[in-house]
Symmetry: C2
């Protein structure tokens, strides 16, 4: 399932409906070039596209550009934009803020860019493809008139661009045309948004994201380890990280168990034959790890998904219609290869633990089963505090019958059922016509984290293909074999990636129920060690995850250490606490005063049970 | 850790101290040959050794041997043995019951076996190796005098062999010298023990084992699935088998959690570099699965054990003496390659889930930590009803310092500590001098199942090698780096193999706490469906694993089905039960009469909590 795979491990960006912002970003790349050649006239321009959140321009400078030069370029951009705006508004150069378009012959283009080998190379390419060559001019009639080789796609009027909605952020090296055999150019990056507030929000989000970086926090909080000997993309979980994993996995299972799901267990290897049967062997080999036995000399693969295994379990039973639907659940680690350079922390990994479920349904059961999954998804993300502003994409088939598999009738029922689910469950959904997988329609869920970043996480996918390929059946009321329909579904997607999101979403300060350590008991000095240990033992007996600090550090240092470890509650123990048999609570919100040990236990137990945020 | 590996996946047989039984078995192979050539004079003899539990002889018959011929051969053996015994005792042929030995020249041997090409081939081999050629004669002076080419190792006196202590069991095909290019011979198998009671006990055990075969029960009880597409040795667990796995794993963890163990999680792959560092890459490659990325083109292995991964987690922390010992636990699935033909059910698998623990200790902590593991082992096997007649092998180093690693002082302390553990814990241990691994001494635990078969399961191994190879350290009281000692340990060994043992140990009738389904509610007819469902819902709410049979089958059939599924309790519901709000219990011991639902729940909850057998 290529699509299933994407959903579970890739960050997918929200669809950008605002076409104009891309045009503005592209136009600002032209402005960046205008400002740069105005400041450094011998600079050779190459290409400058719009990108996510902004734009860049690759240029060949005569002398290296320094970070200190960036504000100067940015100011020059503002000055020129102002000049164009005034000239355009006052009428001294009415077209200054517009892009004027001119189609030229190859020879004209060659002549215009005679001194720029990069542009000449581009011209030859365009010509070779038989495409038209167009030049775009902005600022015409002003001192900073600027013409570039370009395919178009600009803002209608540059005078409407807010001077403070863009900024130049950084430089980086970039090989000409991305080929390391070519010359290294200088790439100047800018950010640009529709408004200055959006830009500000984005910059703040980036700064906040840096502070919350799960790689940094993962190290500080001793959650996971990445070792050169084991390899990148293969994180190992230290006790605290392993606890966090298990807490999330256990909660996911808890949400399923009342809905008739059953847990299965399947191994991480399978013979190549399994993937010939499933079809993955044809289309998915580049992402798979092949395995070769040292003694048997047999060939296997590490499983890149669990569906074919679960199908084997289903097929080993001859179920009847009374047993349907059959619902298998397994939090299974699958392995997918990616380029080493693209791996990072827990976000892009090769070991992917999916909260994987496969349902085998009758046609009439699909809609109810999908509804149940939607309920689980809503409950799970509500608990995580991520239900605000979530979105759902309903991917439907296109009109071209060649591109999908299964009868019109089956698709019709399935799609109508999914629309019904979206409506009954009040999902904030939008339709993606032609975005269905060839094997069935699907729902994808996008959730926002605490700093507004969107992540595609849950998925519900119908599958008309695999039951066919594996000739699956159940016995219907008439005693005949009937083909089930499969439903692939995942709630968190990949536990590893979801943990990365959780670490950043909570900035490491997990809610009590998720915290690997819930309470730190801190005696002021040695005199309070005995009572501190008594409190520690009492909490431990109540199944509270507690540590006690019996070091010789000062009280301030001990409290600071607990805060650095992001432990939800620090219990300070002094003489008064011993006398009154109380503990003084230092929580994330500050000093909450003294309470009895019993009351504190009741509070933690309640917060854990309710999974309070 | 080659030894660790053997302990966790191999069936290891009890050491056989009775040398004489092997001699008797070997002598009976001669008797079998005597009887066979007496009945079928044209039969060509080849080789006939003693084996575990008996003996065989490979022979080249002129006509195929049928099963019906075996009792005839067996009777002939008895007759001849009687003849020899009487001749020997009465003095008519005093040597008849003894093996007479004669060294002969190659030519003499060739002449003696001139008509037997197999023996001639053996003679040439012995001669080529420069070894002496010996002939052994038994029954000399009787009508059944028999001489064979043989290296020796016989019973001193065949007249003491009990006529009923052996039997001929079966025939099988066997290629001459095990080479399929050679002629197929007929192998006649016999069983032999020191007494007829032992023989009888063994035959009973074999019959019982056949009934309990976990492959048969695993299919009947829907515990696991082995698929041709996934491959042999890679079992998949159906919901009920997955439940059993988890129950065992959870109990194992429960036994550890109060002793300071912490759970970690590590991936199933690692770069080849890890196994170069650990040394497994040199000595263990034949058992390892090599892995090749489809995109990255990097080389990995599937982990054949978790120790090197756990070492990476340890090394990522700079622990101080205050943190020691550090105890990691992970029920991790490791993969080891074996010949496809040697795989079977859950006993010999390629996916091996170890209840694996690695401790990093100071020298002074080893003995206490080993004691804790012993306590866990005793508790675990007591719960399983396997503590009767268990044995422990204490493997110590030999006198040759070349064969082991580490200082004399360290070994001295470690071995003394282990002896102390054996004594303090009253272990039924025996010493195996020279049986230690090169990296440290160890304890191996052998437990007997319900039908008396012995299985080597738990292991505790000291390791002076890996901490050295990975340059591990902790900071001691003086602020200096000090090398920890590792302790590898496993309780059940491999969950898969242990499940096979449990299925056969309990003959599928698991105690209530382990049973995937604990209770089956069986209404007599449709009139009782409502109350049956009410009882079902009440039990389910009390976290009891319950099913209800709402089929149209007869009461007898429904109860039989529940018994076939080995469900501990069937609750029969008729009109009287509805009237009195009771359930009538059909347990494994028979009809136990009617009780209230509340009382029944209390009973199940108590049996589950106490893990009653």
């Amino acid at each position: 399932m290529k699509n299933e795979i994407d959903a579970s491990n890739d960050a997918v960006h929200a669809s950008n409906s605002a076409q104009s912002i891309e045009h503005i970003r592209h136009s600002l790349a032209h402005l960046l070039a205008t400002a740069t050649v105005s400041l450094y006239p011998d600079t050779l321009l190459t290409i400058g596209p719009a990108v996510e959140n902004g734009f860049y321009y690759d240029m060949d400078f005569t002398a290296p550009l320094k970070d200190a030069d960036l504000p100067v370029i940015e100011q020059k951009m503002r000055d020129i934009l102002k000049e164009w705006t005034i000239a355009s508004k006052k009428g001294s150069a009415p077209d200054a803020a517009h892009f004027l378009h001119k189609e030229v012959s190859v020879d004209e283009a060659r002549a215009f860019f005679a001194n720029n080998p990069y542009k000449l190379e581009l011209i030859e390419d365009i010509n070779a493809k038989g495409e038209k060559i167009t030049l775009y001019t902005v600022g015409s009639g002003t001192a900073h008139e600027f013409t570039d080789l370009c395919r178009g796609g600009h803002a209608d009027d540059m005078s409407t661009i807010d001077q403070n909605s863009f900024t130049i952020t950084r430089v980086a090296g970039a090989y000409w045309r991305g080929d390391e055999k070519n010359k290294m150019l200088t790439r100047v990056y800018g950010l640009a948004f529709s408004t200055k507030d959006e830009l500000k929000a984005y910059i703040n989000q980036q700064e906040e994201a840096k502070k919350r970086d799960h790689r940094k926090l993962g190290k500080e909080l001793k959650l996971f380890t990445i070792s050169d000997l084991v390899g990148s993309g293969l994180p190992m979980f230290q006790p605290k990280g392993a606890h966090l994993r298990r807490t999330i996995e256990d909660y996911l299972w808890e949400l399923h168990q009342d809905y008739g799901y059953e847990r299965v267990w399947t191994p991480h290897l399978a013979k190549a034959d399994l993937y010939v049967a499933s079809g993955h062997g044809m289309h998915y080999l580049a992402d798979m790890f092949s395995v070769h036995g040292g003694t048997s000399k047999e060939d296997f693969y590490v499983k890149p998904m669990s569906c074919p295994h679960h199908i084997q379990i289903f097929a080993d039973n001859q179920f009847s219609y009374r047993d349907m639907p059959v619902r298998y659940f397994e939090a299974a680690t699958v392995y997918r290869d990616e380029k080493t350079g693209q791996l990072g922390g827990l976000t892009r990994v090769r070991s992917i633990t999916q909260d994987d479920g496969h349902l085998f349904c009758r046609m009439s059961q699909l809609t109810e089963e999908a509804s149940i999954v939607v309920k689980i998804i809503k409950k799970f993300f509500s608990t995580m505090g991520m239900l605000d502003g979530y979105k759902v994409r309903l991917s439907l088939r296109d009109d071209n019958k060649e591109t999908w598999l299964g009868t019109d009738e089956v698709w019709e029922i399935a799609e109508k059922g999914l629309i019904e689910v979206c409506k009954n469950e009040n999902l904030p959904y939008f339709e993606g016509k032609g975005e269905a997988a060839f094997y069935g329609p699907k729902l994808d869920f996008m959730f926002k984290d605490a700093i507004g970043r969107e992540h595609q996480l849950s998925t519900i996918q119908y599958d008309f293909n695999l039951p066919e390929r594996f000739d699956l059946s159940y016995i219907n009321e008439k005693g005949e074999k009937e083909r089930p329909i499969m439903l692939h579904r995942a709630i968190s997607g990949s536990i590893e990636r979801f943990m990365a999101i959780m670490i950043e979403h909570f900035a490491g300060a997990f809610p009590v129920w998720m915290s690997p350590v819930q309470v730190k008991v801190v005696p002021i000095g040695e005199r309070q060690f005995d009572f501190a240990h008594e409190v520690f033992a009492t909490l431990k007996k109540a199944d509270i995850r507690v540590e006690v600090d019996l070091s010789g550090d000062s009280l301030g240092k001990k409290i600071r250490n607990a805060k650095t470890d992001k432990i939800p509650y620090t219990l300070v123990i002094g003489d008064k606490e011993i006398e009154n048999k109380t503990v003084t609570i230092e929580s994330r919100t500050g000093n909450e005063g003294a309470v009895s040990v019993e009351d504190f236990i009741a509070r933690i137990v309640s917060e854990t049970k309710n999974r309070s945020l």
